[in-house]
Amino acid sequence: MTDEQDKPLSLVMFSGTDDKLTAAAVLTVGAAAMGRPVNLFLQYYALDAFRAGKVNADHALSPEATATQAPIIRRHKGQHWIELLKQAKDVGEVNIQACALSMDMFGIGREDLDPIVDGIEGVAAFMASAAEGPVVFI
């Protein structure tokens, strides 16, 4: 029996805005630090944010960020999501896969992706990695 705390955490990353990418990266680094394997599946706008040379670009904020909240989020001194993901990979088992369908849809090749991305896979392979752990859609 796998202990609940040891089950993989699998995040489907759909949104490509900096706030949601950061929220997902915080979950990833926390789970990795606690010894849980983490699988990230990059789809749609999140995949676009992982293009080589684009990770540090401004990816804007999600629509729920109000005019009052947006400047607060932008001023916050927390680390960039790519740095959090690098830390997560450093302390734990983190597997970052690009969704084959999204790659195809946007005409993105393996060489167009940031090297933090481990590979390209289909949804069934992602589900196999998720196994008995929760799947979270962000």
Partner: protein, 79 residues
């Protein structure tokens, strides 16, 4: 204060969650078994994160001291 000898103090005051914990993990990984590390953190998340990680990673939380505006976590690398 306890009489333990602190190997290294990590001043993570002002860092956002999960920065202080990640700095502690880095220091513990580079340290020797038995060494004691101290993290200073003003991040509220550290109060729950550091004890949770120390228990999970099977190290020893020697002491948590609340100071003015920050907490001091003393952790022994146990393995």
């Amino acid at each position: 204060m306890s009489a333990v000898q602190i190997e290294k103090t990590i001043d993570a005051r002002g860092m956002a969650c999960p920065g202080p914990l990640m700095n502690l993990i880095g220091a513990i990984r580079q340290g020797q078994v038995g060494q004691v590390f101290e993290v200073l953190s003003s991040d509220e998340g550290s109060k729950t994160d550091i004890p949770a990680w120390v228990a999970k990673a099977k190290h020893e939380l020697v002491e948590v001291v609340q100071d003015d505006g920050y907490a001091r976590f003393i952790v022994r690398k146990a393995r």
